[in-house]
Amino acid sequence: MTDVLVCVKRVPESSSSVVLTEDAQAVDGRYVGFTISDHESCAVELAVQIADATEGSATVLSLGPEESSEQLFGALALGCKAATLIEADSTRFGPADVAREIAAVVRAHRETGKTYDLVLLGNDAADSGDFQVGIRLAYELGLPVVNGVSTIEVADGVMAAHAEAADGQEAYSVPLPAVATVLEGGVEPRYPTIKGRMAAKKVTIEHREPAAEPVGSGRVRLTLPPPQPSVVQVLGDGPEAAGAVVDLLESLGVTR
């Protein structure tokens, strides 16, 4: 029975273009829709897999505006059984603030008898790219943390996790409870089923206030890098351009 808490963040979709809010404090997602990061999608998948394999449970948590319910319902439809939303303006919360808030929920749930064996997060959020919330959370909770893992199996109270390094695969074996941050690549996130969506609708999301006033991230402002004017030189159309391409490769000295 492994009870897993998985943390996700509502972020703007940003695959084609990025627009900033007027106060330059956030990415404006109003016209592009919202999602969670690919790393977090894999973390949710792992949470559900581990819960299923050990007859435990998966709970999903987010800190953000009320609209983050959309992302929580998304995870519920995939097999998480409970959800908590710390309702707050996430742009005011730095990574240390977010870690403290998650830790506060873990402690509050513990007092009601709900404990977590494993807390999963994405390796880095798709928008703020802080690379630290999971690690800070581990220090808040006094737990070990494994970073950047792509697969996790749990057996006999021990987490076996694997992380891809540049020259091979590194294995960790860590007793639970523990924290792990997940990198995309080890598991394929499932799609929601109709049954999953129906079950999600029956779950009442627990709403919480932030436990403390945030310190903030030190953000002064966001800027967009100046757009680079297109300088592309078209070498030609279709296979007839092959000669020009090989001329280019030769001039760069990359043909052997």
């Binding site: 940003s14 695959s15 990025v18 900033l20 990061s37 690919d38 790393h39 990574p95 240390a96 870690a99 798709a126 703020s128 790219g129 802080d130 690379f131 630290q132 690690i135 800070r136 581990a138 220090y139 943390v145 970073n147 792509s150 891809e164 540049a166 091979g168 695969q169 294995a171 960790y172 860590v174 007793p175 523990a178 690549g185 080890g186 030190g218 953000r219 002064v220 966001l222 800027t223 967009l224 890098p225 680079q228 297109s230 592309v232 078209v234 070498l235 279709g238 296979p239 351009a241 092959a242 000669g243 020009a244 391409v245 090989v246 490769l249 030769e250 760069l252 990359v254 043909t255 052997r256």
Partner: protein, 327 residues
């Protein structure tokens, strides 16, 4: 003082760590000549003298080599504990590392332990009081100005944002061995085994001089023959877009992008890749980009240096044929 966590590989100090040392040097100069200390951890892949000389040439005054049983295999908290001790001992006001997986992880541990903020993937700084850094967010599509008002200032430097040039006035670095005491709690999450794989993993992709890319335009798992052959002919690696790995056409370690590898080859040849921001985050450091795409308006084409418009399945085999013909 400034402390730089330095990583090593088979060639000595990694390129991205040398870039970080160059960043530290610029910061040191701005501060009126602050001394730079480097920390390297564990067994060294090349002789210690080589690393000492390399770091000295790049302006490091002292190299602290951390060893001991606790450092026989990687543990992020143990590395951070050693760094924390060195920062305290030297009274350092800045601790930095490369924006690599290890660098980001160890400095996040350090920041959590010391109770200060950490800025990941910094590309520049402006002024020391207040100390404001600019860093990459949203996979590099957006820049954030962030104030680091506490000391030590802890941050990592984004790869390829600085050039790894030797110092104009090289130092003769002193070598110091250290064997810090590490608490058992800092060794709970530790690498217990490592399976070293063949040369075709993402390691070679990240350092390849030529990368041939393929995206949705490949059409199917069977659509990579031309791309594979072109990479082979040029002695390069194949890199793919996320959609290709999501569809299961190619393995994840070939993925280039925000959640894959970041590459910086002499030439990147993306075939049938439209160029989403997440993909661009991984290939923007390529020196030359030659896009092959049916859509002349695709972001990958408009951002490229060169382009050929048309079907990759016709163009790539023609290029391969032309390369063979000229041999």
């Amino acid at each position: 003082m400034i402390v730089v966590l330095v990583e090593t590989d088979a060639d000595g100090v990694t390129e991205i760590s040398l870039e970080t040392v160059a960043f530290a040097r610029s910061l040191a100069a701005e501060g009126g000549g602050i001394a730079i200390r480097a920390m390297v951890v564990g067994a060294l892949p090349v002789p210690a003298d080589a690393i000492r000389d390399q770091l000295g040439a790049h302006g490091v005054g002292e190299v602290h080599h951390v060893t001991g049983e606790a450092f026989d295999s990687y543990a992020g908290a143990a590395w951070a504990a050693a760094l924390q001790e060195l920062v305290a001992e030297t009274g350092s006001v800045v601790a930095l590392a490369a924006g690599s997986p290890r660098g980001n992880e160890v400095l996040a541990h350090l920041a959590a332990r010391v109770g200060v903020p950490m800025a990941a993937n910094v590309v520049s700084f402006s002024g020391l009081a207040p100390f404001v850094v600019t860093r990459q967010v949203v996979g590099g599509a957006v820049l954030e100005e962030m104030q680091l008002s506490q000391r030590p200032a802890v941050f990592t430097v984004a790869g390829h944002s600085w050039t790894a040039e030797p110092a104009p006035e090289p130092a003769s670095a002193a070598w110091k061995e250290r064997t810090p005491e590490i608490a058992p709690a800092d060794l709970v999450a530790r690498v217990v085994s490592k399976e070293v794989k063949g040369e075709d993993l993402s390691g070679s992709l990240k350092t390849a001089r030529v990368v041939v890319g393929a995206g949705r335009g490949a059409g199917s798992a069977n659509g990579f023959a031309g791309v594979d052959e072109l990479a082979e002919l040029l002695g390069g690696s194949v890199g793919v877009s996320r959609v290709v790995t999501s569809l299961g056409w190619r393995p994840h370690h070939e993925q280039v992008g925000q959640t894959g590898s970041r590459i910086s080859p002499e030439i990147y040849i993306p075939c049938g890749i439209s160029g989403a921001i997440q993909h661009w985050a991984g290939c923007a450091s390529s020196k030359t980009i030659l896009a092959i795409n049916t859509d002349a308006e695709a972001p990958m084409v408009t951002k490229a240096t060169y382009a050929v418009i048309g079907d990759m399945h016709e163009i790539v085999p023609a290029i391969n044929e032309e390369i063979r013909r000229r041999r």
